[in-house]
Symmetry: D2
Subunit: 370 residues, 4 copies
């Protein structure tokens, strides 16, 4: 990547917790205020991949909410996600990003027409790229999970995805929403020649499952039942307490088990909204397995994490990797990024270690001199 170039990161859901944390954290890391904890692309294995530097990232995006980013950063500070004082320290960067956020649909004139919305959204993306003289813009969906769609109409996530295609922007779907995976977008996607990645960032329970399930499998232990309960505060809790949205998310969680074991064991997954938890989430897993001669054993795990803090560095990773892939002329689904997703593109291994090895090899290939 030539020195002096700049890469745009266009966030769908740009005023949400994940987006706010990503913008804040990118500025904080660039300024040396915090180490890049949780950002895989800042580790040694990625040093030669030619990724755009964090300092070269420029943020914008769409959101239907109006609360300014600096105020959202204050809210996240009060919620314990961001350290005190950081929002003030990066106030300029937050204001700059805020100035590049455009309203998500419906349009000012009130149109709900899909074609109008796509055109308008694409124009926003193009304007961002042209006006700021960016080399490219990666569109990343970090909006709240939408209900599983019914009928032929494009859900909102797909409208934004279609706009990305039209604007010639690589696309990453960090949520379980439909995005590019809609039959109406198949042809446009194929024709676009753009790289894309998804779906549904793997930040907690499923991350754990992607190392624990292979462990049981490699040790030839028989998992009889895998049950889980997720307690989510914040906005995603509300979205996922909707059964249809939860169904979308759970499909991703079950996919890991199905891929590793060849079947889905007994057991259910619950997602509860618990506003008292604020920006934090807790996941309890209970795994009943059989050992030698039918002996019954149990593993339980409890994961207490901050969703935004887990997701934000991965969003930055994905924006950088996808931008670099675009620069290198790669097209189509980036199956090498399965490390990041619950429901990745392609048929790759669901084992995190395999996914990591593949990611590292991908990074090496991105850095190769041609």
């Amino acid at each position: 990547m030539t020195t002096g170039t700049r890469t745009g990161v266009w966030l769908i859901g740009a005023r949400g917790s994940v987006a706010t944390t990503a913008v804040t954290g990118c500025a904080a890391t660039t300024a040396g205020l915090h180490p890049p904890t949780g950002m895989v692309t800042e580790t040694d294995a990625f040093a030669s991949a030619g990724l755009p530097p964090l300092a070269s990232l420029v943020f914008g995006g769409h959101d239907t909410a109006a609360c300014p980013l600096p105020k959202r950063a204050e809210e996240l500070t009060a919620a314990g996600v961001l350290p005190h004082g950081l929002a003030a320290a990066v106030a300029a960067e937050l204001a700059a990003a805020d100035a590049e956020i455009r309203p998500g649909g419906p349009l000012p004139g009130g149109s709900h027409d899909a074609e109008d919305l796509i055109t308008s959204f694409a124009a926003d993306m193009t304007d961002f790229r042209d006006r700021l003289a960016l080399d490219r813009v990666v569109v990343v969906n970090v909006a709240s999970t939408e209900p599983a769609p019914g009928g032929a109409a494009l859900p909102p996530s797909s409208l934004y995805a279609a706009a990305a295609l039209r604007a010639g922007c690589p696309y990453v779907n960090f949520t379980p929403s439909t995005g590019l995976r809609h039959p109406a977008l198949t042809d446009a996607l194929a024709a676009s020649g753009l790289p894309h990645a998804g779906r549904d960032g793997k930040t907690g329970q499923t991350l754990l499952r992607s190392v624990l399930a292979p462990m049981f499998h490699q040790r030839a232990l028989t998992v009889r039942a895998w049950s889980g309960t997720n307690l989510l505060g914040g906005g995603d809790g509300a979205a996922l307490a909707d059964p249809a949205a939860a169904a979308a998310k759970n499909a991703g969680k079950e996919r890991v088990l199905a891929d590793v074991f060849g079947h889905v064991p007994e057991g259910e997954v619950h997602i509860d909204e618990v506003p008292a938890l604020g920006e934090w989430k807790t996941a309890w897993d209970h795994i009943a397995f059989d050992g030698f001669l039918g002996s019954r054993m149990i593993l339980q795990t409890t994961w207490q994490g901050c969703d935004s803090a887990l997701a934000a560095p991965l969003v930055l990773d994905l924006a950088r990797l996808t931008a670099r892939a675009h620069e290198r002329g790669l097209a189509g689904p980036l199956e090498d990024l399965a490390f990041y997703f619950k429901d990745p593109e392609g048929e790759s291994s669901a084992c995190l270690a395999d996914q990591y090895a593949r990611l590292v090899a991908f990074a090496a290939s991105l850095g190769e001199v041609r």
Copy 2:
């Protein structure tokens, strides 16, 4: 391996829970009474490795205890380790193995002299091999953990290991005891040309750590403290409640973290004897880690397992793999078996997935036509 050949498995601690479960389970699996749950060498990836069939294994060993194996099997049935009725179903095999158990030191004449003991133990092993016309005998240490040795005298585990060398038997150390890792044995080991493997089977907390630690590392999350408590019933609980024995065991547990992270995080490991738990053990781990921008997160795990049922199939795996390695003429430390150990030979990766990949490749190499 030629049809009709037989392989000896000589167990140090042959009347213990692990040994009794291994002998019972080998017979039960051979007879089709139970699936080979927990036995990695019975999975597809090992089908062409030329391992000795389970039906070809012949058991014997040393023990200082006198309780007959059939009675030990009844005790393990009452303790919930073995299913009811199984001990009766394999009574012949238990009796046959029991007939091949010889007393561990001191000798009948009362000698405690190391050289006398080694000579006597080696004679027992040789006699077993010759009398039963076995192709080879693999010696496996599954005795209770001994205190970390002080002084120059060989601890009991090393006397048995020396005897294995003298008898020309490959050796596996499934415990944290010293075994072959004693300076006084270095020359004899090098001269023996025998394959050997160890140390300290990875059956619970450390198994988990070998997948969780790489997960944190690959995700660039900073582990600040890793604390653990083990509650053990049975004999090993008593042995490990001894601080010196616990120190040996904990060194293995910490090695995984040190290997993955490059340093050992804060936190202690406790091993408590809790006789009320019988043959079961519970391990609680508490992992405090930092995410993006210093956010504090926690993972806790609770593992409730039956130690003998976890260990026994791995003992059978190791006996088969080491026997095959010996048949193929391999010598020295079998670093490819790190999958099984807390404190493996050599400097291999501490990540379970890496170890599994290496094990599978090793199995393939064992099966290659030369």
Copy 3:
């Protein structure tokens, strides 16, 4: 209670796991084969209450299943609920109880008419009492939880309850089913002059809540959210996975929190059927509470129990206490038995310690010389 008298215990669901365990355990305890663990009425505080001795209890009941009690006891042995050998040791008592079980549900002629069923059931109860010359018969509902009823028709549990009234039998409802709490039974109940108790035995998660909720309340800590997940194997898991049945059960669980706090905190309760758990259940609770100056704290509990083994001794307790209450001429709801129930009669304290104190005082009153 005069020596030589005998008390009948008529179990609705007499071939179920709870009933089988109660019959087996009563015989085992009487024979001195096991201590009366879990049976509160065998502790010192109840020694002078004049309760019918365990040896004087005679069992019978209704069930729609046909599997003989001795075979059910073997099944519970295989499932780890009953110790090996016990079913054989009390075979005579199991056979005797089995001979007193009458078919529930539609009559042989096929009638589903409520009045016919009540008449038939009451005749079975009366016949049991008269033929065996029992002083009295306590009817105890331990059948699987039925769905919350809709419409005016009496649900099965209420048919049996009505039969108990008609037969002049005191009645205990150990399940969340309707039983006597149906408007159509109000008058008959009032007229009967019979003591009765219920509803929904408190054996796991709710038992814990009945001590933990008062702890938070007495310490003036603010519970913000109380979430729970129950994993149940066995028959009750299947019954409760039905949303309507679960709703009935959850109402009882929430009642404890509402009674202690004056409101129900945030959080949901899930009941999952996990057949792999067999007769065992696991309950995870996650309690988010505020301390001084708004500090956020968490308590989590995991309860792993055997439902039948928890319930059976309480069923024996309740049969004895209710029989004695009947002997002493008490009528109406036995509010002093709230210690045993999730959803007790009356408006007593939901704090277990208060309930225990009241129970002990009740036992003393039962023993008073008049």
Copy 4:
């Protein structure tokens, strides 16, 4: 209590986390900035007890550290114990308390003589009371736990306790240190006619045990093993990682079990220092119990709390109750305050519910018109 009077609270360890939180919280609650969460004496049951109002409390104390209270409050804010902004809001109260803190430990002249120290400490207390015209001064020990003393010399906690007696101040020991429980102080204590209370505030694991142990006991369930591990950050973690100090603390924890069950079950308690946890602590308990017919069951609990936030409101409670007891002329050990302590005065019930009932009755008696 007459309007206008003021009560002194003299804190041993006045610059520690508990003391700082207590002073901050008292001011915050008085100012209406926070509800009195965790303060039992602010609930309805204590409204008529005549306790000194929070607004009437005046703080001072001894400490060997020099860091000013306002700075300590900032540190506790950064550690997440105090909400942001609160330290500034109560800066005046913090400064006022800070001005009343006197150096503990060796006197300026360097004397380590016990008599000199007692005299000097008592003079500080007397001066505080006289100079500020306080009605009375309650001395409360909230210093770090000291090692279990050896030999006849008075440990520091006893020097301060002796000073309290000499100054005529009621005394509360919130720590497991010796305080008044030293044979050399027996006579002076008896002669003083002062009320006193202790020992070792019950804020986490032991609080839980005081409701869970009675639950098992009342249900006639047999606890076979009770194991626990405590992870403590902060200063107390360092103090308690010292085996001698831990021994003092564990004695209190075991006392609850011994009092309820009549014996101490199997199992150990560990206290680990884990600096990464900061001001937070985590306690894991594993309870193995038997149910009916010997069935094996398990309860596990995990308590994640902030020690200072749990302790501080109880310190305020105790200061108020002890002050009022002094006003009412009560002398000797206040056994009615067992609700607050791991190792209370006298032989009262270890069941929290009993202790609460007794505390409420005590509050009522304090309010009675004489």
